[in-house]
Symmetry: none
Subunit: 412 residues, 2 copies
């Protein structure tokens, strides 16, 4: 199996001014053709560091893909570094020079003298034509390995990779297909999932099952390596079924969907409408539910009853209930849910009241305390949580939890 | 001068499933304290590759910062790799174990057995307390160089870096001081700003003035390099004043504030309350205004009147107005603003009605059409925009524009 190493070049990348998205894109393209990436190096515009890094990458990888440093200015040094690694000189390529001149003529622009440098190639290397910009790519062989350099701007790099690089390297990926499938989970922690899945998550297993977490959403990545696409698909399907069986309702999507998308689909399929009465989340639940195109089909009314008076006048919450139990209480949550459902005429209502913080907490009612109710006119169940960390996190977790409670409602 | 190397660990990063934003953030924090980054390595969850890469990084850098691979599962191998580099064993740290148990107890969750591994440290290394999650960071010295490992989730990594790592490493940054100041602008394009600022944005100038754009918000970065902090601060202040003079009201913050924070401060200073009646933005404006802690001080009522019936029953919009002009019209926007202000009793109301798309557009009323009104009881001015691109972009641009209109209201 051939392995790839990726090098991203540019001072703006190591200063943090720009985010390198090229290497992530390249690894996503390489994996399905059977070439996994072993490492990504991000370095600045320094010819010695570039050539050292190319040598380093060549020591572990068979194919080294470089982006950046092919422009016309003094800080574009990739071609010099490749020549250095190959132990050859740069040589003017007349065909390239005329291609670059044509590029400028075609756009009615005078060609700056500095653009000449882009017509120079390391001896023994070949050029990859750039149909979008002036910087040609470079391809060279070195001790049975391949060095490929492409321009940094994604709009130039991507078509060059797809049209010129893939046809040259896909033969190295033969024999192996790598497929990845994501599954989304909510409602428990990473370590609980790891314990439940046990050996399924063992290192070195094929498929490999990885786990990443973001904002309480846990994503399982199933990576299968096989001889054919059909085999890899079968292996993934088998693992996916086993994981669903073990984790049950914790899995909310076998594809790469958001919780809001899953819930929206359930609402549309069942022909149900929903209204939202929220306090501490300040509109985030309504916003999240209406992120999905076509929300008109199920979302009707939303209230952000931030002050007590709004809860009373808009949802019909009893003033006495607020005085007796406080605005953040299961009693107020109940009256909010009832009021929202009645006044909107929706099939289902969700109410949220809580303390997002950072201020406003007490010993009995700490910051992060939240009550959530999903009400369909039947029995009411009050869900109480404490989400600490930060205002932003508490609000996000509350909204995801409300969507998840709604999803589970449909399971009954 | 000390130099940093950064290593990001995770199979999801080299497969391209997730984008590594940690290393870019870290280099941005390191530069102002005088520690430039020489290279960034992104590698998978393999103990041999991790320890090899740490050794490689140590060969060129004095401070090696690692993120990821500190979780409780079998694919979290950073602590093993550091022990390998240091040539020591992992040892159970009783204090860490009790900290981790406390973390779970505090949340009323049973601690999974796999979490024990997070209490193990390479001998001779010290732990960095994690106040947000369970994975402690690791700090170790190696031949006068420093290895620092932090958890991968940005919400855990960032506070750990700011609170615990910066105080330990800032002493290594002596020599040159690099200060960066951000200024935030809204209401015009990048090229207009570049034209107005002219030579101020010339390359190679010190301070260097850069420009980045995200969701319509333009951020100017003033980067000054000087011998002392005071010198750099003076240089930045001079540029900041010139930029404010040239751009005027386009600059909404001379610090790194959001539009919502700026508007919230204005509302609080003036003792004004606000209510929101929004349709196509589905709660996003209310959410954005209540992102700011202390929103109780100015935010009172919010309505997400997604369906026509909600506009009528909740805001008192005339049914005839909707029939005659359509829900997306300046007339309905006006009645929404009046209804919201009257029913909430707030000083100011904002109304939004539009077509977020992707469906629902016509020739007269295209997708992206939106009406916004900021109403304080005086004269009403209807603002009409068409924000194309995507549903997400149209909603975001609408909300930012509404906040900006409110900000400009206070300028009069």
């Amino acid at each position: 199996m051939k392995i790839a190493g990726i090098i991203s070049i540019g001072n703006e990348l190591i200063s943090g001014d720009s985010l390198d998205t090229n290497s992530s894109w390249l690894s996503r393209q390489l994996l399905p053709i059977g070439i996994p990436t072993i490492s990504v190096f991000t370095i600045g515009d320094d010819v010695k560091i570039i050539s050292d890094t190319i040598k380093q990458a060549l020591s572990k990888a068979d194919i080294v893909l470089i982006t950046g440093g092919l422009g016309p200015t003094d800080d574009d040094l990739t071609r010099h570094a490749i020549a250095d690694v190959l132990g050859v000189d740069l040589k003017l390529n007349d065909e390239l020079l005329s291609q670059i001149s044509e590029f400028f003529k075609g756009r009615n622009i005078n060609m700056a003298r500095t653009n000449n440098i882009q017509a120079y190639l390391p001896e023994s290397a070949t050029a990859l034509t750039n149909h979008v910009g002036t910087a040609p790519g470079i391809m060279a062989e070195y001790e049975n390995k391949i060095i490929i350099a492409m321009p940094g701007p994604p709009a130039e790099m991507m078509p060059m990779f797809n049209k010129l690089v893939v046809p040259k390297i896909e033969k190295y990926g033969h024999g192996q297909v790598v497929l990845t499938q994501k599954m989304k989970c909510f409602g428990t922690g990473e370590s609980v999932i790891a314990e439940k899945l046990g050996d399924l998550m063992a290192r070195g297993r094929n498929p490999l099952v990885n786990c990443t977490v973001s904002g309480g959403i846990i994503t399982l990545h199933i990576v299968a390596v096989a001889k054919t696409k059909a085999q890899a698909e079968d292996m993934i399907a088998a693992d996916r079924d086993r994981i669903c069986e073990i984790l049950g309702d914790i899995v909310y999507s076998k594809e790469e969907k958001t919780l809001a998308e899953v819930v929206a689909q359930e609402l549309i399929e069942r022909g149900k409408t929903i209204s939202i009465a929220e306090s501490c989340t300040g509109g985030l639940l309504a916003k999240t539910l209406t992120d999905v195109p076509g929300a008109t089909g199920y979302f009707t009314y939303g209230w952000v009853t931030y002050c007590n008076e709004a809860k009373v006048s808009q949802l019909g919450v009893n003033r006495d209930t607020i005085e007796k139990y406080g605005a953040v209480s299961q009693q107020v949550a109940l009256e909010m849910a009832i009021g929202a459902r009645q006044r909107s005429g929706s099939d289902i209502s969700i109410s949220i009241t809580g303390i997002a913080g950072p201020g406003g907490g007490t010993e009995q009612k700490p910051v992060g305390l939240v009550y959530i109710i999903v009400y369909n006119g039947g029995a009411q169940k009050v869900h109480r949580f404490v989400f600490s960390h930060s205002r932003e996190y508490a609000r996000l977790r509350t909204v995801l939890t409300a969507l998840n409670l709604l999803r589970l409602e449909f399971k009954d």
